[in-house]
Symmetry: C2
Subunit: 425 residues, 2 copies
């Protein structure tokens, strides 16, 4: 069974919507992540449109670069879905209706309450001769595997939830069984926020400048910079002393910016801290419009510590729901240190939580004054030790300002809960 010695793959994503720019390709990242977890490195990703010539170019290039190819998209029932035909033709395998698959697809439509299956879906039961068929638990287009001269060519639907289920339930288990496991890739991601890429690189230079192994990559985005360490180990070891040593050095140099590791999110880290200290939190948002609440509640189980939120967009709602003094709004402004403080204290008192967080700012494009530019944001946090407030001047468009403000607000909770003078471990 251990017949696959390769550790690299090529991903092909197919769809005019990807090349037109209407749709961001999230499938490639998901597939790459899952493959990496079993030690398969993605060498390239290729995106082509729903055109036979282009698809076949992609298949040819992929097959010449790797033995494992995962391809998504173009398996739907509509007229522009031609991936299966193009790939089957490339490998010289005619398409045949698979009776089992046809029954499964018909059954799915009945269970969805349809009297009969739309005729266009019959094509979804066609499979290339000799292909392995993986039934799709979330939809009607099955996953397919063509094995040809040592190349493993997987075809999956482009709908993310269907592709994800097939990757998890079929593709990954299938590959795992066949992989020759002489070496394993280990990786560790150290997640930071509140510092830019070049500043972080300088800060970490003493630890990284002469380093060859583990490999280091800086992965910046709007929310922070991830530092990823990668190394190869023999056998099935799950630990690498090399990675552990560098991780410790990085923590020493940049501890205040590190919020977590690997799959940690800022919201999951805050959730763990609140649970650890047995605290509940409520929030009062203005310019972020609910985004902070949305992020906090993305964590499963957040109802254990998140009591309520208010989105006080109007001045009136700040007065009614939080008890902000109308004179303060009148004299200092809705976007001011004073209002932010009253909002945080107001939500804490009214919700009877141990911690209250507030955000008020100008997300733009309108709303700026001569003294208060777009991107001016105040965040305040109130707890049993008092109330502190932070002023930010953010840049970018409306969505970017909302996202950065929410990130900074969540980070303020983390910093507060990690303050050893206030909260003991």
């Amino acid at each position: 069974m251990k017949d696959l010695t390769t550790d690299s793959a090529v991903i092909i994503t197919i769809g005019n919507e990807l090349l037109s720019g209407k749709t961001v390709d999230t499938n490639a990242a998901f597939i790459a992540r899952r493959l990496a977890e079993i030690g398969i490195k993605t060498r390239r990703t290729i995106t082509v449109g729903d055109e036979k010539r282009e698809i076949q170019w992609g298949v040819r290039e992929a097959c010449s670069a790797a033995k494992i190819i995962v391809c998504t998209g173009g398996l739907g029932p509509t007229r522009d879905d031609i991936s299966k035909h193009a790939v089957a033709e490339y490998f010289g395998k005619p398409l045949r209706v698979d009776r089992d698959q046809l029954r499964i697809v018909e059954q799915k439509f009945r269970s969805l309450g349809y009297k009969e299956m739309p005729k266009s879906n019959i094509s979804q039961a066609e499979v290339p001769e000799g292909a392995v068929v993986f039934s799709n638990s979330k939809g009607t287009a099955p996953g397919l595997l063509i094995i040809d001269k040592g190349t493993y060519f997987f075809m999956l639907p482009g709908v993310p939830v269907e592709m994800k289920a097939l990757m998890k339930e079929d593709v990954i288990p299938y590959l795992k069984k066949r992989l020759d496991s002489g070496e394993t890739v280990l990786s560790r991601t150290i997640r930071t926020t509140g510092i830019g890429e070049s500043k972080l690189a300088e800060l970490l230079d003493p630890a990284l400048s002469t380093l060859k192994d583990p490999e280091v990559a800086f992965l910046p985005d709007l929310f922070g910079v991830d530092v990823r360490l990668t190394t190869k180990v023999k056998s099935k070891s799950k630990l690498s002393p090399k990675i552990e040593k560098i991780e410790k050095e990085i923590l020493k140099l940049a501890s205040e910016y590190v919020f977590g590791f690997d799959d940690d999110t800022l919201e999951s880290v805050i959730g763990s801290l609140l649970i650890k200290h047995n605290l509940t939190i409520s929030i009062a948002e203005s310019c972020t419009g609910g985004l902070v609440g949305n992020r906090i509640t993305d964590s499963p189980g957040s109802s254990a510590y998140f009591e309520r939120g208010v989105i006080t967009y109007s001045n009136n709602s700040k007065v009614e729901l939080l008890g902000v003094d109308p004179d303060v709004i009148e004299n200092k402004g809705a976007v001011s240190e004073e209002t932010a403080i009253q909002m945080a204290e107001g939500i804490k008192i009214r919700s009877r939580c141990e911690m209250g967080l507030s955000i008020t700012g100008i997300a733009g494009p309108s709303g700026a004054t001569t003294t208060k530019p777009v991107g001016l944001v105040y965040i305040a946090i109130s707890d049993g030790f008092g109330t502190s407030v932070k002023k930010l001047q953010l840049r970018g468009d409306r969505e970017r300002i909302k996202k950065q403000a929410a990130q900074a607000a969540l980070n303020l909770i983390r910093i507060r809960l990690n303050d050893k003078n206030l909260y003991r471990n």
Copy 2:
């Protein structure tokens, strides 16, 4: 100046973080969209890692497929940023420090409050011999253009905000000037929600089955299905009778599912409807945790119609902030038709808005009971004509259920405001 007759491009995105799956590549979609707006069709997208051999393979394949290449990533100051070296070497152009660029980069660091520039940033002033340099208004790595045997090879930083600014301010204006404008691509996107891809395809079959021009593409995602019509027209016409005809037929066949066109979002459409009818809205969210408020407030100017939101995660907050009857929660449950109705009516009355919306449901993975599975969601809307409630049974993980519930809630507002028996045009 009109020396470019090509209308196709290849996009190259470079970065180990893209191939590891840690980062979703949003740059390719943005670049493709901007190019499409000036009639340049993206033929392929290629993603490779920060390795010279791979980058040079990508450059070679791109140059053999198109005359316009836009490449992003790997221009940062850290040690894994090698794109400039790899590309310059491919084209046989040595790198030289550009004095003007060095001054600009140093000046940027001073204006950010640094005493001196981190040394690693000097490399950002190096440019391939003969390249056109586009100064980066949002960061320190300039955009570069290498012109070689009729190929226009643009290199942009991978940080989205920097790439976007350079595309808008430099690359697009530059290409526009040089394009031979014999033909223009016109496209129209008809946006639907509340119907699946295959059902929509069947519904539209009478209009589309024999259609050759315009070209039709179905672009499904979690939120709905876009139908995109594309055609080429001579000269600089901005209208196509062919597209207008098909658009009308599609509207006849599927009007109830169509919420907008092109860049319309469901939240922008709702905003326009609320302004048109001179109404204000407040919302009460439970399982969506602030996501509906976040989406409504993504629209600039939403403060004109969005008064407030409450995220009533605890039962207590439903009682205190919305006046929900504790006996109803006790007997019918927090996730019930009755609670949803009281939440919608409560937020409408307390905020003194004309319209109140509520969402309560089980986002999972925990919280389900024998009679109430994960994905059960009630949404209610209350206005001067009464209160209506809708039950949904959604599938997927926590984030997916939150997103679908928010989409359905926003769509309910749209349907209500489009009800000709209630709101006159």
